[in-house]
Amino acid sequence: MKNPLNRDEFENYLEQQVSQHRMYPSDHVWRSIQQDLHGHKKWPALTIITLFVISALVVGTVLIRPQHQSITYAANGSAKKPSENIEPVSKQPQENLEEHLSPQHITQQTIADVTKNIDIDNAIPNAFADYDNIPELLPAENSIVNPAIAVNTTSAPFNAAALTTPALDQKKISKRASTPDVAKNNINWMMVTMPDESQALNGPLLHFSMLPKTTHKNNFMFSLGGSPSFTPKGLNIETTVAQEPGITAFKFKPRSDKFDFQFFATPSISYRRLVDNVHGSTSNNYVPGIPYGANYKVDLSRSARHKPAAGYEAGATIGYKLNDRLTLRSGFQFDMRQYDVVAYKSSPDITNTPTSNNSFTGGGGSVPQNINAPHPAAIAPVNDAIVLRNRYYEMSMPIGVDWKAWSSGRLSWGLATAIQPTYIFNREPFSIISSDTKNSLVDGSKLLRQWNINTNFETYLGYTTGEFRWQIGPQFRYQVLPTLAGNYPIKEHLLDYGIKIGFVKSLP
């Protein structure tokens, strides 16, 4: 700069005049500056769409229930003569089985005719929709059933032999549907037919009768005719709740649905683990003050300071129950994880001309980082600290298992783990340690690996209310592959610790 005393009057006059001059820039100038520094403000479309889809799935699962077939009594066709048209079961009036369906009237031919004409879709009302199907007796859809019937509420011995019909079609049980009308009238019943190889079931045909709900304590019951000791195989009988002459009542175990839906959210804290890949190992023998590259073995996690930051995870999965305890689970989840990098000025002066073009924000200049072991002499003053944030947006598809280790009443405890193919789609500036000897941070967004693998492990405590199992528990998530691709020598692996909160609902 020139000596201010050498200024003449004209120069002083000019300086005085122009120093009073002000001009106010247009608004677009500031907007352009902001866009250049912070990027365009993007509407978080992906986040909102993901949340919308997940919410819609949750609402759809919770609120929309399948319409139950409202059907009335079925299988009355057996009382009709074979030549008569058999009306769809749903149109058939409810009749007193005792009057019309006595074993004496059932003939082999009648049963065969009925078997031909009655469509399973119009078959049985059944309030046992929530109960276990009988695996070997489940029919195919729309298969013809034998609306085997019987009523025997009398004390008369049951003539099981009369009902044994070797010629019976081997078609098995019709599908069941709940009947709001029947349920409303407190009448629940089920019709079961048996294959003609009744010996496989160790007994005669099952029969049913209508029983008022109030007769017995349990809601879902059916009566069996025949020998009191008869216990058909394949029926998942829980208890024998009543025995009356000629009638044996059983209670089925509740059916466990094969599929379930889970929704969860996990607030978490993200960390990172740095590994020097030059020698594949790390050590604490760090020499402060010398260029970074000279420290081949260095505990980077101690040297490169970072602070964890909060993130979150949200998603939904569908589970398939292999058995009562083990469930296979898969779905989608959205993750946001981030951490802060603390950088310091350590050099007395950094030459940064306006034409400099290396920058952690895409502008000019580089951030010098004093990457030293935590030695008092090597740490720069706090007021020179700069905090940079690395943020990741991810979409993952967890594939894993859920094991219910313990359950008692409403409470349960379980463990779960999954492997998660992950897609990373953020494009923000990303600070990485330069691999040269300048100990600086540079923008490494171009080295970001787009696809990665994460694994998670969680344990949870569950509480069942109605159809939902609410669960909460800690989760640990680890990124298997390094964040940066290529030959970048410093490997970063992200770790998340969080609390996973969610619910599970069985799907009908």
């Binding site: 201010p4 000019l14 001059h21 352009s32 520094l37 000025k345 940064n352 306006p354 502008g363």
Partner: protein, 192 residues
Amino acid sequence: MTEQSILSGCLQHDPVAQRELYNRYSPKMLSVCYRFAQSREDAEDMLQEGFIKVFTQIHTFQNKGAFEGWVRKIIVHTCINFLKKYKKFNENIDLAYASYLQVKEETVPSLMQAKQVVECIRLLPVGYKTVLNLYAIEGYNHKEIAEMLDIEESTSRSQYTRAKTMLEGILIKKKILEKPEEELNWAAAFKK
């Protein structure tokens, strides 16, 4: 917000602090850019580039000297680079030709004198006004100017002399400045 809090916020990339800093210094800095630029649009472009560099290099500010001076230095460098980049220095006008530049009355609107002076400076050819701005107003010496503009120091001196003479003529013609007394006395003596 105090200047220290603004600086701390800008180091943290806080948009609020950045906006505050911009609001404080942009009027003066745009004036600086306007004196170098050919048009207001160019001036705003220079200002935008300059402030981006201010925000990205703010960590290099050493707390030695006034922050405004540091910002101004970056802005001036940005203006010079802008002119170089868009080849605004192609004009090569000598004094003889420049003397034919006519300053019409309407080209300098009747505004406050400060603005009038600035507008008169802008009337100068690009090379002249750049050297004039750098030497007379920004306080750089000819050696520094020569390095910045990639010219000889002697060229800088001669350009400044010419620019100063031309500007004085414009200001006098616009009656913003009065003729020096020596000239008046000389004319009067000559008449005698």
